[in-house]
């Protein structure tokens, strides 16, 4: 039964993530007043990339991308998707906080093996950005854990189903706003797109990827989009009873993020750090203090 749930979670996450990637391209196109690609375009790209020759740059290049993908898949198993949560009894928010670092680390190992200067710049930006958003993320998670007095996500979701969304309740609304402010940085979308930045550093860590390696990074991106939004829905929008309702909530959050992505230019990396350590951190800190006082 657990194995079935694991397979179902990975499949659903992949499908939803790829659907979001396609939808983002379509929404961006409509905002630019053009027709845009079909929604299945990322799937078409992946099919094409698996049918290309691919150039490997060494053992670590192959290993790093698998490592990164595995890290993302493990995080998926800890996140409840509706009622589906294969590893609900173990782990919780603390484990997720540790495991979320594996995915950028793997991509850094893999991209670094290619020894391209653009990849090195991209990787250093990726880690600096991770340093930027991990501080407010830690404060937000601390506030949630303090308020609900639990580290288990399933328990937090259950309490929200009884008492209403935590995004509506006063003690946690500041933390929720802080999470929305750092969500583009977690997903790597504009205005925090400086990791990939095709115009200045030739798509950063992905510059030497071809064929099936690029296909795997696309799937990895889909998983990461799913993780970032699903964590927000579970912690602040009260999760859901069934996967369909959960998907609708994720869709709403994702469209907000895409609208921001469509109209904002890119930050430079030091501007991003300055922003991330100022407003989201201040809000998250205030949220943590309120949560401490009210419990």
């Amino acid at each position: 039964m657990t194995i079935l749930e694991i397979i179902l979670t990975i499949l659903l996450a992949g499908i939803i993530g790829l659907f979001f990637l396609g939808l983002s391209r379509k929404i961006m196109a409509r905002i630019h007043w053009r027709y845009g690609p079909p929604i299945v375009q990322p799937v078409i790209d992946i099919i094409k990339l698996f049918n290309q020759t691919s150039i490997s740059h060494g053992i670590l290049f192959n290993f790093g991308i698998i490592f990164s993908l595995a890290g993302s898949v493990v995080v998926l198993l800890f996140l409840p998707l509706g009622r589906i949560c294969p590893l609900s009894n173990s782990g919780g928010l603390l484990v997720i906080l540790y495991l979320m670092l594996i995915s950028p680390l793997g991509l850094a190992l893999s991209g670094g093996e290619a020894a391209n200067p653009n990849a090195s710049i991209g990787i250093s930006r990726k880690f600096l950005l991770a340093l930027g958003y991990e501080v407010p993320l830690l404060l937000i998670l601390l506030a949630v854990m303090t308020y609900y007095n639990s580290i288990s996500i399933v328990e937090i979701v259950n309490k929200q189903i009884q008492a209403g969304w935590s995004f509506q309740s006063l003690p946690l609304i500041l933390s929720g706003i802080a999470y929305i402010l750092i969500l583009p940085a977690i997903l790597g979308l504009r205005p925090f797109e400086m990791i990939h930045a095709p115009q200045e550093i030739s798509s950063g860590p992905l510059v030497e990827y071809s064929g099936k390696f690029l296909a795997l990074t696309t799937i990895l991106h889909a998983f990461n989009v799913f993780i970032g939004i699903s964590l927000f829905v579970n912690l602040f929008l009260g999760g859901a009873e069934n996967p369909g309702y959960f998907f609708l909530k994720m869709l709403g959050v994702f469209i907000i993020v895409i609208l921001v992505n469509a109209v904002f230019p890119r930050f430079r990396i030091e501007q991003a750090i300055k922003y991330l350590w100022k407003w989201p951190t201040l809000l998250a800190f205030a949220g943590l203090i309120i949560a401490l006082i009210t419990t």
């Binding site: 196109a29 079909p38 049918n51 290309q52």
Partner: protein
């Protein structure tokens, strides 16, 4: 356009994928590049055909040579072409890579690009309009369907010929040959 026909996708997914996901590398050699921004942005929107620009040759499978090719640029065109993963398609854009165009007498530009790398199709004109790029893309779809866009195979088969031409115009090349001898395709 048969992008929505599921039967074809099940029959030959590789071919259909290559048709409808052309990741283009625009080589900004000459004046032709000025036609590309309207093609890929809101006015003509190449993305609806699955054509999007990518930043590095490793991710690309469509190579657009836009404009005249000077001898100095040819070196980098060859290097970029050899870095692209197979199957790869090349399209010459404008009169200049086709036959020299208005630079026929120039000491500094090459006249026929297809002596140095294989070219799958040409867009003639000076300058071609952005619509011509879409005509080229639809022609390329037909060629991929019939298996006639085999420039990369020709490059493997006749590598000695291309390498000789490259060395003739560029002098000694500082990178080793891509293939040690002519490779026979299966």
């Amino acid at each position: 356009m048969d992008r929505n026909k599921l039967g074809k996708w099940l029959k030959s997914p590789g071919k259909m994928g290559q048709k409808y996901s052309l990741h283009a590398l625009y080589f900004c050699t000459g004046c032709g590049i000025i036609e590309i921004p309207p093609t890929i942005t809101a006015r003509w929107d190449a993305e609806r055909f699955g054509v999007i620009p990518v930043a590095s040759p490793r991710q690309a499978n469509l190579f657009l040579i836009t404009g005249y090719v000077s001898v100095k640029t040819l070196r980098f065109i060859i290097r970029s072409y050899e870095q692209m993963p197979e199957p790869k398609f090349t399209v010459g854009f404008g009169s200049c890579p086709l036959n020299g165009g208005m630079y026929w007498d120039s000491y500094n530009t090459i006249k026929h690009l297809d002596k140095y790398i294989p070219v799958d199709g040409w867009i003639a004109g000076c300058m071609p309009r952005p619509e011509a790029v879409f005509v080229a893309v639809t022609h390329l779809w037909t060629l991929i369907d019939k298996g006639m866009s085999d420039g990369y195979k020709k490059y493997r088969e006749n590598y000695q010929y291309y390498r000789k031409n490259q060395e003739k115009i560029l002098g000694k090349l500082e990178w080793p040959p891509l293939f040690s001898k002519n490779v026979k395709n299966e």
